[in-house]
């Protein structure tokens, strides 16, 4: 309001459709401005037409035609301060976890920020360690990458996302989980799980439940990114999980159809791609000009019957730097995480891996691909050549090693050692059930046994996977002694 001239701009409600109102007047209002009526009910300007203004209601209340809304001179903002860590808040920044109110700081930031340009970004060089063997070795993520997680319900996505956050303990990574239109019970369970696993102290939960009004659900990911940018600006690495964007797309479709915008494919508005791209572009790896730090984005899409060829999943796949495809049939077979390694992609993760890791990963993929091709032959042939048998055996061992239950963290060196063992003579006379029973014992020995743990210390200095495999081959007698293997072998299939 211009106090000198004692005037402010006003508009009157022309018509109302649920949470969407059209106003006249407000001659110089801009998109994303906040207007307010006498009762304190706020509205967000969502569209500008020649004769009227489209407004989304942010607060609950009774709106009637003819009511007056005044401009406030403000955009939609959220208060940012370190006290957000460990809290669950609504998209408007109000705590929803039943604890005390947040002390406001001087730092207010608009929700609708423009993504940073090229000059403020730098190459993605650091690996985002998830502590999950299948991901870190075969489908690696980089800090600043956008990686889509896509799959059916009951394909283990939720426990994977939990592990992503819980495994960041002591890593200095700040986690922000955006629950977009999820049931209130899900949000409560999530909060409790994080608390029990002591992951809440470095996590912010931004949640809008399925019973909330659509404008709030629509704003949830923007709030999450605004908070992420605050912490990233302090030089920290941030993980943002958007669970899930398919609900966000449906909400945006609902708002657009209500506003009378022409529907496009699958009735989504024409700018749905732009909305999601604009959002996900806020992630990245940033240079010192932008505060350093990085924002790694994990958007989630829940599919129906594993169909990832529909409009929204393909859109997000085009925007992101790769995708992890979760399959419910793999989950039902007991594979954890239930990631389809062949159909999952990480476009920028490889450059963040060390040489040893990268070469070992390539070797493993070759084995898995070869074994996949030989699988049909192996079912029909009674006698297979020795090389084929080795490949199939290595495949089963690899699958057992990368199988990892929830809430277990395996560091990179341990992953390399376990997977390197597959290419040594240690696997002679051993099958997958041996590794299933003794995996933890192997890990403990490599960490604690003085005859073995020197390999763990030597890994950062190794140049190739052959070097690692050779070093492991030299300690096979020690391992055999530990597991008391005789010539006939133990743990027969």
């Amino acid at each position: 309001m211009d106090k000198n001239l004692d005037k402010t701009e006003v508009g009157y409600v022309l018509s109302i459709r649920d949470y969407l109102a059209f106003l006249d007047g407000l001659p110089s209002v801009k998109l994303n401005d906040i207007v307010e009526n006498d009762q304190g009910i706020r509205g967000l300007i969502n569209g500008l037409e020649p004769n009227r203004v489209e407004m989304l209601l942010l607060d609950e209340g009774m709106i009637t035609p003819g009511q007056m809304f005044k401009t406030t001179g403000k955009k939609l903002e959220i208060n940012l301060n370190p006290a957000l860590l460990g809290r669950a808040i609504s998209p408007l920044g109000i705590p929803i976890d039943g604890k005390r109110l947040l002390e406001p700081s001087q730092n207010w930031q608009e929700l609708n920020q423009e993504p940073r340009g090229i000059r403020q970004r730098k190459f993605i060089t650091n690996q985002f360690i998830t502590g999950i063997s299948a991901i870190d070795t075969l489908i690696p993520l980089g800090k600043g990458q956008r990686e889509l997680v896509i799959g059916d319900s009951h394909s283990g996505i939720n426990s994977f996302l939990m592990d992503l956050i819980i495994n960041q303990k002591d890593s200095g990574v700040i986690c922000i989980y955006a629950c977009i239109g999820k049931p209130a019970t899900f949000i409560k369970t999530l909060l409790d799980t994080l608390q029990i696993n002591q992951a809440l102290s470095y996590t912010v939960l931004v949640a809008s439940s399925s019973t909330e009004e659509s404008p709030l659900v629509f704003l949830t990911p923007k709030t999450a990114f605004t908070i992420a940018e605050y912490f990233q600006g302090q030089g920290k690495d941030v993980l943002v999980i958007l669970d899930d964007l398919s609900i966000h797309a449906k909400i945006y479709r609902e708002i657009s159809l209500l506003a009378g915008k022409p529907p496009g494919r699958e009735s989504y508005p024409g700018d749905i791609f732009s909305q999601h791209a604009h959002l996900l572009e806020r992630a990245g790896n940033f240079n010192e000009d932008a505060g350093g730090g990085s924002i790694t984005a994990i958007p989630v899409i829940e599919t129906n019957l594993n169909d990832f060829t529909t409009f929204i999943p393909t859109n997000i796949m085009a925007i992101t730097d790769g995708h992890l495809l979760f399959r419910s049939n793999l989950y039902n077979k007991g594979q954890r995480p239930a990631v389809d390694i062949f159909l999952s992609v990480s476009r920028v993760g490889r450059q963040t891996q060390s040489t040893v890791q990268s070469l070992l990963s390539r070797r493993i993929r070759q084995i898995l691909t070869q074994a996949s091709g030989l699988e049909t032959v192996s079912r029909f042939s009674s006698e297979l050549p020795a090389e084929t048998q080795i490949i199939i055996k290595q495949r089963s061992l690899i699958e057992e090693i990368i199988r990892q239950e929830s809430l277990i963290y395996i560091d990179i060196r341990t992953q390399l050692v376990l997977l390197g063992l597959v290419f040594t003579s240690f696997i002679t006379n051993k099958n997958f059930s041996f590794f299933k029973q003794n995996k933890q014992k192997i890990i403990n020995n490599f960490n604690q046994n003085p005859k073995l743990n020197f390999i763990m210390r030597a890994i950062p200095n190794m140049k190739t996977d052959d070097e690692l495999i050779k070093a492991l081959e030299e300690v096979v007698p020690v391992l055999n002694q530990i597991f008391s293997i005789d010539d006939k072998g133990i743990n027969q299939p």
Binding site: K3, L5, D6, K7, T8, E9, V10, G11, D24, G25, L26, P27, M68, K70
Partner: protein, 159 residues
């Protein structure tokens, strides 16, 4: 032609409430006299006086077969009028409404209509809204602008 009809319609009609009332009157007149409705003409005293003051050619048009079209046209044109909204802390008597309307048209030389809203919290003065801009000339606003000065001078009395 359209503008002339609108001018005739808006003679002695200054507020949006009066416009709606006049249009309702015209509708019931047309229904009664042209379409033979049994419901009679709904009229209050002011609307009747206004109708009596209208020129003959306007009344003749109302009695013809083109009356319905005339009414639709008038409704459209009046909807396009942008009223000045006056926010007052008191109730304005009927005579004052006419005086104010006439004065506004004389000053601005425009076919202005206005709307009165009541907000006692203004205390005194008025606020007006024109073209989406709210101009606040009320006592309440003046007090808010000088709140700190007033409070500090009151505090001086407490000592």
């Amino acid at each position: 032609m359209k503008k002339e009809l609108l001018n005739q319609f808006l003679s002695q009609t200054y507020t949006t409430f009066q416009i709606r009332s006049r249009l309702f009157f015209l509708r019931s007149y047309i229904n009664s006299n042209v379409f033979g409705s049994n419901q009679g003409v709904a009229a209050n005293k002011q609307d009747q006086q206004w109708f009596d003051s209208l020129p003959e050619n306007f009344k003749q048009t109302l009695s013809s077969k083109a009356s319905n079209q005339l009414l639709i046209e008038l409704t459209k044109q009046t909807e396009q009028l942008k009223p000045v909204v006056l926010v007052l802390p008191f109730d304005l008597p009927e005579e004052e409404i006419f005086k104010l309307g006439g004065w506004l048209r004389q000053i601005f030389n425009l076919l202005l209509v206005y709307e009165v809203k009541y907000d006692p919290s203004l205390i005194g003065g008025c606020a007006l809204i024109w073209n989406g801009v709210y101009h606040d000339y009320s006592i309440k606003h003046k007090i808010q602008m000088q709140q700190e000065q007033l409070l500090s001078s009151f505090k001086g009395f407490l000592k």
